[in-house]
């Protein structure tokens, strides 16, 4: 299998008042073979963001589309731990590491 790696990007505070926007952003891009979820510019996240991210990951998994999440903010990284979801996503601090991970899966 070979194909394009698409990026979904959100920034700022991912919280309850942006629920709809977050849900809309977390949809599989047309024709994507893999998705980089770039949340490196997120400054704060709450369980609304986590719930939507999890939903997105489950959808991608069902369609066998690999997904890598970039999280740099400590608060967000801890939130994932606190929610007990550290094993639910492939999380990277570095965008290049995330891309390398996806590349391996798209062009094995």
């Amino acid at each position: 299998m070979s194909g394009s790696i698409e990026t979904v990007r959100l920034s700022g505070e991912l919280e309850i008042s942006r629920k709809r926007e977050i849900r809309d952003a977390f949809t599989l891009p047309e024709g994507a073979a893999a998705v980089l979820v770039d949340l490196s510019e997120v400054t704060y996240a709450d369980s609304t963001a986590l719930t939507e991210l999890l939903r997105f990951c489950v959808t991608a998994q069902r369609d066998r589309i690999p997904l890598a999440v970039v999280i740099r903010t400590r608060q967000f990284a801890r939130l994932v731990q606190y929610a007990g979801l550290a094993g639910a996503f492939e999380i990277f601090e570095d965008r290049n590491d995330a891309l390398a991970y996806l590349n391996e899966r798209v062009n094995p």
């Binding site: 919280e15 709450d46 369980s47 719930t51 608060q75 801890r78 939130l79 731990q81 606190y82």
Partner: protein, 131 residues
């Protein structure tokens, strides 16, 4: 008279209230010398409790009497943060893939009590940072 630092905030129970209340709490914590992870953890927990009040406490057509309140203060060597509303707590089974709010609150908060007698009052107690 009690002169300990204190923040008390009451806002309409709307989702757009949550971020400003969180920002106010963060500002207060910084003013009284909290920093880094402590500030993050307390605001994370409070943010979840606030989101719950806004999302679950009131029927969606609730009027101006629907509000959410945050009360933070130093008391007996702890930071006490209470988030309360005057709605009704909705008891329910945890559904898979959601219900992370209370789990997150419990993970970060050393001491917590949830009072549901008169609306919901999430009473959180945190250690003070070592100085």
């Amino acid at each position: 008279m009690n002169v300990a630092p204190r923040l008390r905030l009451r806002c309409p129970a709307q989702s757009r209230s949550v971020a400003p209340i969180r920002h106010a709490l963060r500002a207060f914590l910084e003013a009284i010398g909290f920093d880094g992870k402590c500030v993050d953890d307390v605001t994370t927990a409070a943010g979840e409790a606030l989101a719950n009040a806004v999302e679950h406490a009131y029927p969606s057509d609730a009027g101006p009497a629907s509000y959410v309140e945050l009360h933070a203060r130093i008391a007996r060597g702890k930071l006490a943060v209470d988030v309360s509303d005057r709605g009704s707590f909705i008891q329910r089974e945890r559904l898979p893939g959601r219900g992370f709010g209370l789990r997150i609150i419990r993970a970060v908060t050393p001491q917590i009590r949830i009072d549901t007698a008169n609306g919901t009052n999430v009473r959180m107690r945190f250690h003070l940072p070592k100085s």
